[in-house]
């Protein structure tokens, strides 16, 4: 709608502001602000004409006015701001349904195998998972920068060997692969009493290794 536009007159000092117009201005400022506004900032709206106590009272007033709305005025550490009430979230989420995407089981299992068994080929992954691995799965993980090919196994077909990257560790908040949940503990959960045909390896303290 293009209402005829009249350039706004500069604020008239001759025309004293009523509490209602002060509230209107406070609301407009708080609704357009990129960040919470402290009282010190809100005072500037009125060339410091009103003191903090007066503005606080009006802000409390506005907070009450908005009680029934889906949006509320709150005071946070750095000032006052409007924000949506939690009850609105389920509706608003419908506008952006891809908000918390998840990786498929195939992606997660492939990632786990590469993390724990690296370096592995696609064939290795398929053997462990018992199903074939779609190219898109490896592409997803490569595009995310979590896995990379570190060489090729010298067997027919020269399959690429995949390993996890430093970025994978960074983004999972790990200092090294040793900080991954130990396999041993999980294995005992499932394969209790399974025989181990290898000697225990020496205890290893997380090294500087993390490319």
């Amino acid at each position: 709608m293009s209402a005829p536009y009249h350039p706004p007159d500069s604020p008239e000092p001759s025309n004293p502001l009523t509490p209602d117009s002060i509230k209107r201005i406070l609301e407009a400022a708080l609704l357009t602000a990129q960040e919470p506004l402290p009282i010190s900032e809100l005072k500037k709206l009125f060339d410091h004409e009103f003191n903090a106590a007066m503005l606080s009272t009006l802000l409390e007033d506005i907070r009450r006015d908005w009680n029934d709305k889906g949006v509320e005025l709150v005071k946070v550490a750095s000032g006052w701001r409007f924000q949506t009430k939690p009850a609105m979230q389920p509706y608003l989420d419908r506008l952006t349904p891809q908000r918390t995407p998840r990786y498929s089981r195939a992606v997660m299992e492939t990632l786990a195998i590469i993390a724990y068994r690296q370096p592995v080929t696609r064939g290795d992954i398929e053997e462990i998972r018992g199903v074939s691995v779609a190219t898109s799965v490896l592409k997803t993980l490569t595009a995310r920068g979590w896995i990379e090919s570190v060489g090729h196994r010298n067997v027919p077909g020269k399959p690429a060997l995949f390993a996890t990257t430093a970025r994978f560790l960074d983004e999972l908040n790990l200092c090294s692969l040793e900080e991954l949940p130990p396999l041993e503990e999980m294995k005992s959960l499932i394969e209790a009493g399974d025989q181990n045909h290898e000697l225990p390896l020496p205890e290893f303290t997380p090294s500087t290794e993390s490319n």
Binding site: Q98, E109, V150, G151, K187, N196
Partner: protein, 266 residues
């Protein structure tokens, strides 16, 4: 003329329709040091011509071509230094005006078939179109503009609706493994060997090094500051790599240099 300036010591710079022109030159005849202002004032020759016609009541026909040309030529001279393109446009306009004037002076052969063609028509059409757009531009500039005359509201939202990549927690990895293990156990007795992760990590590290150099000396794989454990793990990683046919370890003669070579194709 709106007003006559009381500058008596300045002779008229131009005469338009026989009237001495005392005020126009303030806009039109620009001393060289005020060129910047002049260029700001007029968008180009069309704009200047329009100004002459509209503001100073000039008939397009009565524009004194000789003087206008002289004026234009002096702008051209001023602009030549750093506004060559603009100078060219003024020059072109001068040429066009002279052409129109000369054609107006020539007797028009009266032909029955062709309607009389006014040589000014095209210039007039352009001037009017430009003037129309100039007006439209002023009106557009007066429309309320987001950010200037009003602000768009966008409240703070807890979760910004930007495209997010899936989050993975290490517990997700654990669950993925448990899933694999459970299936492996159900399907057949798939053997998953006990493995120390650090060996796996070092295997990747050695392969990365070999990818960069293809060929390294055995001792270079051991950092001089390595702890005993790291040396052991690196050694185990080398053995594992050799076993998996990923590297070749060779020694040309007894006690000679041991070479580690990638046997991957790249």
């Amino acid at each position: 003329m709106d007003s006559v300036l009381d500058i008596v010591d300045t002779p008229p710079i131009a005469r338009i329709c026989g009237e001495p022109l005392l005020e126009i030159p303030q806009d039109l005849y620009i001393p060289p040091d005020a060129l910047e202002v002049f260029l700001d004032t007029f968008q180009g020759p069309l704009d200047l011509l329009l100004y002459l016609i509209r503001k100073h009541n000039l008939n397009i026909l009565d524009i004194p071509m000789a003087e206008l040309t002289q004026q234009y030529m002096s702008y051209v001279a001023m602009m030549r230094a750093d506004q060559l393109e603009l100078a060219a446009e003024y020059l072109l306009m001068t040429a066009l005006l002279i052409e129109i004037k000369s054609r107006m002076l020539l007797p028009t052969p009266k032909t029955e078939s062709e309607p009389e063609h006014d040589p000014r028509a095209e210039l007039v059409r352009r001037l009017l179109e430009y003037e129309q757009m100039k007006k439209a531009a002023l009106q557009l500039a007066d429309l309320p503009q987001a950010g200037r005359d009003f602000n768009i509201i966008q409240l703070w939202l807890d979760q910004q609706a930007t495209e997010q990549l899936p989050n993975v927690h290490i517990d997700d990895l654990r669950h993925a493994w448990i899933g694999i293990l459970t299936r492996a156990k159900v399907n057949r007795h798939h053997q998953i060997k006990r493995e120390n992760l650090s060996v796996r990590a070092f295997m990747s590290k050695i392969l990365r090094e070999l990818r960069a150099h293809h060929h390294v000396e055995f001792q270079d794989l051991f950092s001089p500051t390595a702890t005993v454990t790291e040396v052991v793990v690196t050694f185990l990683a080398l053995l594992e790599l050799a076993k998996e046919l990923l590297i070749e370890i060779s020694q040309s003669h007894a006690f000679g240099m041991i070479h580690v070579r990638s046997i991957s194709p790249t």
